[in-house]
Point group: D2
Chain length 292, copies 4
């Protein structure tokens, strides 16, 4: 019997990632004790809120943030244990100690955990603690890392390279998919442009365009995508209006004292104000926000 993957012809250099090959939306399931049924669906009719600190700093910082974002309706907790740093002298994260704190937060609040993995030899360890692996923008074309996360069956959030075209991004997804892992979620996190008042320029058009080119879920990171706390709110609403499947937002109890990327983290108060607005815009386009 012919293998269907070899039968469907596609017009793009990527295949498994293409909408032509796989016309139906892919919905990625993430185990999450805090929701009814114990599973969050990413890429389905509902919008998902992922929130938490950029970087895990201390148990108190993480638990305070997790409690606050869970209370407002976030169902997935973000937090970096392995952090890329442009300078070798910057903070590079708590490592496995940070992963353990994330696991503890999951036990306490029932939220699924998303965290970054930076190198192939760490994949097995990070898989022990995380529910979703994140591949960062600088690693979008780290092919051996893509191969390795492709050999797991964990959901993978693949961030867009900071100067990547959609085709390059979908070819990076193809690396993971072609290793057998079909749980790939794409994340728009801003591209580099000439603008100096923002850290990145968030490309909202990625949301409807990836939906046309691919069946994979597409989510938005307005924190990295802008680098500015004061516009995370409007860019979150714009993402939802454009059809994002989830938001990934950096929240910090005291952003100005954050060890990393404080300028782009919203406060807990700002997050609390944002949630009803997200609900309202989602409702306006006929979607709901899953919160329990």
């Amino acid at each position: 019997m012919p293998n269907v993957e070899n039968v469907v012809r596609v017009s793009k250099p990527y295949k498994l990632a293409s909408r032509e090959f796989h016309p139906e939306d892919t919905v990625v399931e993430v185990p999450s004790a805090c929701v009814a049924g114990g599973v969050v669906h990413i890429g389905g009719p509902e919008v998902v809120m992922m929130a938490g600190p950029c970087t895990v700093e201390t148990e108190k910082q993480l638990m305070t943030t997790a409690a606050a974002v869970r209370k407002e309706g976030a169902v997935i907790l973000r937090g970096g244990a392995f952090k890329p740093s442009t300078s070798p002298y910057g903070f590079r994260g708590l490592g496995e100690e940070g992963l353990k704190l994330l696991a503890k937060a999951r036990d306490e609040f029932g939220m699924a955990i998303i965290t970054e993995v930076m190198t192939p030899t760490d994949v097995a360890m990070v898989c022990e603690y995380a529910d979703i692996l994140q591949v960062g923008t600088r690693n979008m074309q780290n092919y051996m890392l893509l191969d390795e996360v492709g050999r797991t069956r964990k959901p993978v959030v693949l961030k867009r390279g900071m100067s990547a075209t959609f085709e390059e991004w979908l070819l990076a997804a193809e690396y993971i998919l072609s290793q057998g892992n079909r749980n790939v979620i794409l994340c728009e996190r801003g591209i580099r442009t000439f603008e100096k008042t923002t850290r990145n320029t968030m490309d909202i058009s990625a949301i409807p365009l990836i939906k046309r080119l691919s069946h994979l879920p597409i989510i938005s990171d307005p924190s990295q995508g802008t680098g500015r706390r004061d516009i995370v709110g409007p860019m979150s609403l714009a993402s939802v209006a454009a059809g994002t499947d989830a938001l990934l937002i950096e929240v910090h109890p005291n952003p100005d004292e954050a060890l990393k990327d404080g300028a782009q983290s919203v406060t807990i108060d700002q997050f609390r104000e944002l949630m009803p607005q997200v609900h309202a815009v989602a409702a306006a386009i006929g979607r709901a926000l899953v919160t329990k």
Copy 2:
């Protein structure tokens, strides 16, 4: 008595355009017979729909489009009579004949007219027909044109240069303002990036950021901003969610036969479907769409 303009200190190289100098939102008034009171306000609490063909081609094309967009709630009619063309062999517009057709559409449908002016010596003539002057992306730094539209008192839509930073854009606005014309409206129309599946990458973050940097109204052109009819809808909704003061949308009765930029013009049917969605997202963030 000291001139207040010389007293307020600003931290940016632009001054009259800055929020520091002028903390209250500027609301630009445009005479428009089709709305109650006869004036449309751009930059106030309501969102405004501007729509029409990219280029005025024939009386029939213009009138058909104007009738259709007015029926759905557009209150300002767009249409190009002088068109920039990358090639000297491309269509450069009908010139004054096109302006006359626009004036005729205004008489018939009561919509205000927005149209482009490309060179200083045309400003007086275009002012005779237009309610809003448009300065295009290629002319954002055509300083003598900026000076000349600055010497009129007509509302001016100043499109962002295709690789301009916010600072350069606001300095271009400063040219107009410093000549005495305070009726400046900024328009995000996409920037050049490495992406090849779109004509431009629409920078939705310009909307909330310009609101912070400046008191001037900011509007969105998702047609030029994307170059793709199939995502004009989601990008319109994203613009509204992010706080745009108006949408400027290209509509054509038969886009595939358009003389110019058909790929980015929506059909009348698509426009009809879009309007209630725009209403819903505007309502979700507490704004209304002015339609009569």
Copy 3:
């Protein structure tokens, strides 16, 4: 008899500018009393040095600079009388007074004059004083200006738009050529990139590539192209090694007191040291530098 321009088929959207249409190099003749024969050829076997201040400030500044650069072998004098300024509050040049000073320098030193024209209505006046018209980077797509300089027969240096592709640049040249003016010279002056330590990134590859795509002369402006005096030297040599037909260099007797762009102007001493190096690299690739 068929018009040859309508007979030759070209594969590019530009035609008169293309090497396919016109296989032989175009050599533009500029009257210059200081050289043997009274004419400088741009685009021929010899390399040409154009130098002078960014902006004409005073008679003394201009004459001092002209005397110095002529002494070292420059045969064309640059100097701006109409200057584009990003801010309306910046120095915009001396206008016609500056043109008169340039003409005076021509009378005294026998150098041809190149100076910028910014708007169609100034073309006739600038033609009275200048030997070469310059269209600046911000005006590369100011189509009415291109049309107007195309209606003269003066040599025109067309600077590359700061984010323009080669195709867009050659289409801009096509505007001038199609009006009948075949004396078009292209000038690489740097493109905008993400780099922050330079004002622009000079695209040296434009030199050999334009030579392949077009028959028009191509020259280099390493002052604007870098924005940094300390690398004008190596970038001049790189331009010559890559095949540039001329260099256009900003020289100022006291750059740190320049009214405009002092950071990118070399001193007279630096210019004096550079000239023999330019000679040597030109000789290494089999070309000479015309100096008398």
Copy 4:
């Protein structure tokens, strides 16, 4: 006694890489049997030619190319055994088999070997065969790879990331340096721009600027830097004129049949014609090309 590294203050975020910290040029020594003294110096007064195929395909292809480029004066042989491929379905290199062929070529022709390493766990193996490790553009911010090559003492060629600023590039070098490996060589290989007729835009200004910012050697890859065989020649000469310490050129006996990147590989004949031109331009700026 204070550690000098902690005493010198630098004004940049990178330190060990900065010219302020280390004012003298770093000269990296590479063992190479084909030259007098058995050592090639990169970063000293002489210019070095590195050449060879993009990718090792077969023994015959490699040996033919190596023989030819050695005969013309290349002293270092390039060739990829581990190749990054944008698509998972592209050719990814021969792996260790390719390394063995490179070692065989070294034995036969006495040239030092430069080859890419893509992931930390391969570093030890690649070190067994290579004289210079290459970190590719996509891995410029693969921090764990940088750490690992930093723990060796092999010379490392660090290619510029395709959208990296000089500061980011020097911070990546700082990762390697701060692990104790001071044998870092920077390589300009083109940046991404809007231009479509080239694969990358080679930033020649990187050569003089890196020389000012850093003491590390800087070399040029005009093959990757342009993606076009027809301009590799002029861009090589431009690099030398601007001060490059070495050229890294792709040569293939039959480029149109290359498994990878044939469009940017020059033929053996083209390479033969180029060498005397490189000699001449180097001589014009007072440098020699080391060939034996």
